[in-house]
Amino acid sequence: MEKKLLHVYPQRCTACRNCEIACSFAHPIDGKAGVARIKAFGDKEGRVGHNQIVVCMQCEDAACVSACPANALWRNPDTGAIYLLEERCIRCHSCVAACPFGNMRPQADEFPSKCDVCGGDPACVKFCPANALEYK
């Protein structure tokens, strides 16, 4: 079966940042909102169709995976997405330093956070009112 991918359509993005909020609440820490793993950038000049969505691309040869000394980053065979196995993570934040795209985000005393497509049912997609995100 073809694996689904998180598709972004920045042309449609209104930079309302609902995706960020959905993501935070989908990945809470101690019941509180966590760090969003997706980021919507509103165009500086406010031009329509020029906003940008930055989210993990689940790179084939991922910098985070090769940087991790603890083998804590794994590819989920069902979704094809890379996720962080917290039990193995030593929180050295090497992955955060290694990701060239800024998609591995630190969380103060916690484990770093990265997009895991919510295990195959991404919350951001459901909350985007502009259909700028699709999972297909």
Partner: protein, 251 residues
Amino acid sequence: MIELTIDGKRVQARKGEHLLAIARREGVEIPTLCHHEAVEPSGACRMCMVEVTRPDWEGWSKLVTACNFPAEEDLIVRTRTDKVMQTRKEILELLIARTPGSQLIAEMAREYGLDHPTLTVGELSEKCILCDICTRVCQNLVTGAISRINRGVEKEVNTPFAEVSDVCIGCLACAKSCPTDAIEFKQVGLERTIWGRTFDLVPCTQCGAPTLPKEQAEWLSERTGMKVEEYFVCVKCKAAQTARTYENIAW
């Protein structure tokens, strides 16, 4: 595949698989302190004690540490017998005597009915239970800057001869993986201090926010082939840079 029994339930496992892993997979809770998935088990803390027997042992049983005890066919594992609970309680009594400063140990002790520990031998601020997670993490996964030094009651985790280490890269993995938060570090502005050494955090080349110690970047660069300078951009600036790159791509 083999079959064994955990708390009355027949379960399947690979031969030699550790009991703790099997129990967790089956949803059976066993308390641990020195267990960390990133390193080999060491059996140091003894909290994961369970009682095992076999049909051919004629009623005899023994206590073993679940984290490193290999599964075998027909083993009968019981995780909450009186003997197990009593042993865990005694271990906690000793741990709390050593580490009056640890909140985690105090909480666990309370769970086992030790509301008023009677014995105290450690300094009131002591938190280290000598579980060796930090030293195993550092030695097996990072640069091997710390180990157990001294013997007997003097035993502690430190750099060799408790001197400033030139091997440490300041990654904080030891402190962050310590179950009792016993390893102190300080981070203020562009400085991070751990094990008596102060590291300069390289400022982000774009916004000046602290990134990571140069030593950690060099260590990473050696392992991954990325250039050292590539590590010196903070996450925010990297994400913004990504957005700009996208903007410049013709759709």
